[in-house]
């Protein structure tokens, strides 16, 4: 009994969750290939994900960008006894990690949690059963538009956040460490290539794909009124955060081999 409670039951739950997530993902990909494409819904979700999250992402990444330069300067001063390398190192850190991870984690909280809350509320108020009754596939109607919108908009927000973070990093370098803007941008050309930007966009797209799938999975499996919605939202945020961190590790390693 102890063995069952401690190991078998969680393992079984994990396997069932993996199966369900795989089912949702594969069904979504099939719809991506075959349609029907619900353009109106896609545009609506693009607006709510992209425009709705833009202020938060912009403010948060601006704050993160102000720290990165002084932090890199502190470490470079300790390691190499020089602050010449600030532009290259801070730009690399922004392009490869900071400008991608911070908005992704913020969007997990904002988009993921609100999606789970919305879908979960629909589930506990039996709206999803009503959809099935009307012969509308809930994955086609709820998951697919969010999936497409989230992939596009998270990639776009990643690029915007890189731009904002870099601007803040440059202004701190200019104001605090007496670099000129031209000097900074010049050294960028030595350290950053188009490949960095492409890798950043790919990372953003992968994180954008994770968010709606996981949050809709938890929304569909939500049971039991207000408490159920709260639990589902919590689990969705935690699981998506962990998956984003793990995928970030895997993709960072993969890209480090080609950069």
């Amino acid at each position: 009994m102890v063995l069952y409670n401690l190991i078998l039951s969680p393992a079984l739950g994990f396997i069932i969750a993996c199966r369900d997530i795989t089912f949702i993902l594969s069904r979504t990909l099939v719809i991506c290939l075959k349609g029907p494409y619900r353009i109106r819904e896609i545009l609506q979700h693009m607006h709510s994900i992209g425009v709705g999250s833009l202020p938060i992402v912009a403010i948060a990444t601006a704050f993160a960008g102000t720290v990165v330069t002084s932090e890199i300067a502190y470490h470079m001063d300790a390691a190499l006894k020089t602050v010449e390398m600030i532009p290259g190192f801070s730009a690399q850190f922004v392009f490869r990690e900071l400008g991608i991870a911070i908005p992704a984690l913020l969007l997990v909280a904002k988009v993921g949690a609100s999606t789970t809350a919305e879908v979960g509320t629909m589930k506990v108020t039996e709206q999803i059963d009503a959809l099935r009754l009307l012969q509308i596939d809930p994955i086609e109607y709820l998951v697919f538009p969010r999936f497409v919108a989230s992939i596009v908009m998270v990639a776009v927000l990643t690029v915007i956040s890189i731009a904002i973070t870099l601007t803040c990093a440059i202004s701190v370098a200019v104001l605090k460490y007496n670099f000129s803007t031209l000097e900074y941008l010049n050294s960028l050309t030595h350290f950053i290539s188009y490949l960095d930007l492409i890798c950043a966009v790919i990372k953003g797209m992968v994180f954008g794909a994770v968010i709606p799938i996981i949050s809709c999975f938890y929304g569909f499996n939500c049971t039991g009124g207000a408490q159920g919605v709260g639990t589902a939202t919590t689990n969705s945020v935690v699981t998506s955060t962990i998956i984003v961190i793990v995928l970030d590790f895997i993709l960072t390693f993969a890209f480090s081999l080609i950069l």
Binding site: A226, V229, D248
Partner: protein, 263 residues
């Protein structure tokens, strides 16, 4: 403008709420201790495995990034020190507290929000008990204490994990990795990490209890409270990251001039 107005409204509400919680706590210091300890153990045990997992991967990501940067200058001898310092001072607390915002903060908001919308909080008030004293104070104090412990533990796991990953991916010996650590880290670095962890813990506690306590409107309301709790916690943590960095930098400079380089 609507966003800004909303934001300031929330900020003021959270300030007043946390003031009320602190006042209630200080008035009933002795009677609440068992409840607080119970909450600490429940929050800590529930979150420990997740935090360790995240800490390991944060350390691993940093190793890859710094290895990539430092190999351009043949300075990989500094990998260990640079990585440990960055993990403790900046990135570790930030990313792990994002996770705590979901695991601890959203959980508390969901719990309190459910109690609010099912009118359990009103029932407690009807029975003559102060719901803030009975429900909010133990959770608030427990979240602050346990986030501090969990973040410190997560940072330790991150450092050890980074060492293991460096050995595994880049064939850097553990001793070689650790040899540059004293050059970059000292007591002040650890203080920076712990101070930031404490600030983030207070943020998670304040936002989650405020959002949960003030939820309204059935299942949808609980969902909204949890979502807003997650957003505001993450946003405030990023703000706090910048301000604590500036503050700690200034304090470091101040102490350095005070004791003349010995610090």
């Amino acid at each position: 403008m609507g966003f800004l107005k909303n934001f300031l409204h929330e900020l003021g509400g959270m300030y007043l709420f946390s003031n009320e919680v602190k006042k209630t706590w200080l008035c009933n210091l002795k009677t609440d201790m068992p409840l607080v300890l119970e909450q600490v153990s429940s929050v800590g045990l529930r979150t420990l495995s997740t935090v360790c997992f995240a800490g390991f991967f944060v350390g691993a990501i940093l190793v890859i990034q710094f290895q990539l940067m430092l190999s351009q200058y043949d300075a990989t001898a500094f990998l260990g020190g640079l990585n440990t310092s960055a993990c403790i001072r900046e990135v570790g607390p930030l990313i792990i507290s994002f996770l705590l915002a979901g695991k601890v903060g959203a959980f508390t908001a969901a719990e309190l929000g459910t109690m609010r919308v099912t009118e359990q909080i009103d029932a407690i008030r009807c029975l003559g008990t102060n719901p803030i004293q009975y429900l909010v104070v133990p959770r608030y104090i427990a979240i602050v204490l346990s986030s501090l412990l969990l973040l410190v533990f997560g940072l330790l796991v991150g450092i050890v994990g980074a060492m293991l990953v460096a050995g595994w991916l880049y064939n850097i010996n553990s001793l070689q990795y650790l040899s540059s650590v004293p050059r970059f880290t000292d007591g002040w670095t650890v203080f920076c990490g712990v101070f930031k962890s404490a600030v983030y813990g207070i943020i998670v506690a304040t936002v989650s209890t405020y959002k949960g306590y003030n939820a309204s409107g059935g299942a949808k309301g609980v969902g909204r409270a949890v979502t807003q709790c997650a957003i505001y916690t993450n946003l405030f943590i990023v703000f706090a990251n910048t301000w604590t960095s500036i503050l700690l930098d200034a304090a470091h400079g101040f102490f350095k001039t005070l004791w003349g380089g010995q610090f």
